[in-house]
């Protein structure tokens, strides 16, 4: 029980330490910041070890090792050694003379990312959004939907025109691009306004922590 109380005191003091940044930079904030950096680096190191390294690498290899010892069979889990190989290449950066070998691992990562995201974005960001925009401009007897559809089609169309790089924004093309910018602005404003709610609730959460969990002023 007392451990909990000490814990809340620690948490509350660190909370105030971060908030003190709003006034100005000060040793209290610097301490909280330094502790945060250290603790979080440790946190992710531990998480990486137990939740990535062990299950993805160690467990897979020990599985295939057991299979080899028990049945003399070479099973497909050995393939995770390739990942380990690239991982070790990364660590070779610590040896200046052969550090350049780490670029092989970078090349593998960058190639994978480029290939994966090529199709992923074209599909989910490109085609899905295009399909979503194909709507009839006039829907019989439903003025609201008609207006909504017209706005979506016009907004997407002109917004996309804004992004053209190889045409000068002049004349009718420039006019369309201008309308496109209006839609982008409405999008930004709306997203901003929408997010305010969520940001305020974060602060409410912290205030509640201070006033009810720590000071017990609110029951």
């Amino acid at each position: 029980m007392s451990g909990d109380i000490i814990g809340i005191w620690i948490g509350a003091i660190l909370t105030l330490g971060i908030f003190s940044f709003l006034y100005k930079d000060n040793p209290f904030y610097k301490f909280s910041e330094a502790l945060f950096v250290g603790i979080s680096a440790g946190y992710w190191f531990v998480v990486t070890f137990w939740q990535y390294f062990v299950p993805k690498f160690w467990d897979n290899l020990s599985l295939s090792f057991h299979e080899l010892v028990a049945n003399g069979r070479i099973d497909y889990h050995w393939i995770y050694l390739v990942g380990g190989f690239f991982g070790v290449l990364m660590l070779l950066r610590l040896v200046p003379k052969i550090g350049w070998l780490s670029r092989w691992s970078l090349a593998f990562i960058v190639g994978t990312t480029a290939g994966l995201q090529f199709t992923r974005y074209l599909e989910s960001n490109g085609i899905r959004q295009v399909v979503g925009t194909i709507k009839p401009l006039v829907v019989g007897g439903n003025l609201g939907t008609s207006i909504g559809n017209i706005i979506i089609v016009v907004g997407t169309f002109t917004g996309l025109i804004y992004f053209f790089f190889s045409k000068e924004h002049k004349g009718a093309f420039g006019g369309a691009a201008r309308v496109g910018v209006w839609f982008l602005m409405i999008n930004f404003g709306a997203m901003f306004g929408y997010t305010v709610m969520s940001r305020m609730s974060l602060l409410i959460g912290r205030m509640d922590y201070l006033f009810s969990d720590w000071l017990k002023l609110i029951k």
Binding site: S40, T133, L184, V196
Partner: protein, 213 residues
């Protein structure tokens, strides 16, 4: 070897990933490569940690300005790591009752949540500065933000059910139509940007990170 292997490797892996998307027997390559990525990242984190210790250790050694905070960074890291790896029951290090869980809930979590909560203040100061009706574009930004801010909370209901409903509905309408339209244009543009960058990377046109020396 130094120059060619990375370029060729990037191209081969990239093209394989694209093709694998269309050939069902190769679909699982994606999962495998992602697992490999996690393994590489897990190895690589050691580089980052060494760098962190080196930078802070250096500050302490040379007694540079603010060096005591370097001590805090290194101590924080060591405590969390030693407890997490050695004294919190291995894989179940996140279970309630472990020392790791205690540090998580009482140190990591409050720091993280408070940092996030600073946004409440910054949202206010940024909107005060940025939302001025300077021209048509800025006015649209301002109006959309204003209506959404009012419409999303039940302020209108203080006065009357009707007003609350009308404000909420206007806010929903903006989100559903003009907002969606702008968002779509951005997203489609991004799709093409990614496709083009990915292709430049695969073709070896943008290769700053794998050539040289």
């Amino acid at each position: 070897m130094r120059r060619e292997v990375p370029l060729v490797l990037t191209a081969i892996v990239g093209i394989t990933m694209i093709i694998a998307h269309f050939l069902p027997p190769l679909n699982s390559l994606k999962d495998l490569f992602e697992d490999w990525f996690f393994i590489i990242a897990a190895f690589a984190i050691i580089l980052g940690i060494l760098n962190l210790i080196l930078v802070n250790g250096n500050n302490i050694y040379r007694k540079q300005k603010g060096w005591p905070f370097g001590v805090v960074v290194i101590l924080g890291f060591l405590i969390m790591t030693i407890i997490g790896l050695g004294f919190s029951g291995g894989k179940s290090f996140q279970d309630p009752g472990t020392p790791f869980y205690y540090l998580y809930t009482n140190v990591y979590s409050p720091l993280s949540a408070t940092m996030f909560a600073l946004l409440a203040f910054f949202v206010a100061s940024a909107s005060y500065r940025a939302f001025r009706a300077r021209n048509i574009e800025a006015t649209m930004l301002l109006l959309a933000a204003f209506i959404l801010m009012i419409g999303r909370v039940p302020i209108g209901y203080w006065f009357s059910d009707w007003l609350g409903d009308a404000l909420g509905k206007t806010a929903d309408w903006i989100m559903d139509f003009p907002q969606t339209a702008g968002q779509r244009a951005i997203m489609i543009g991004i799709a093409l940007g990614v496709v083009s960058s990915a292709l430049r990377v695969i073709l070896g046109l943008e290769r700053t990170y794998t050539s040289g020396e």
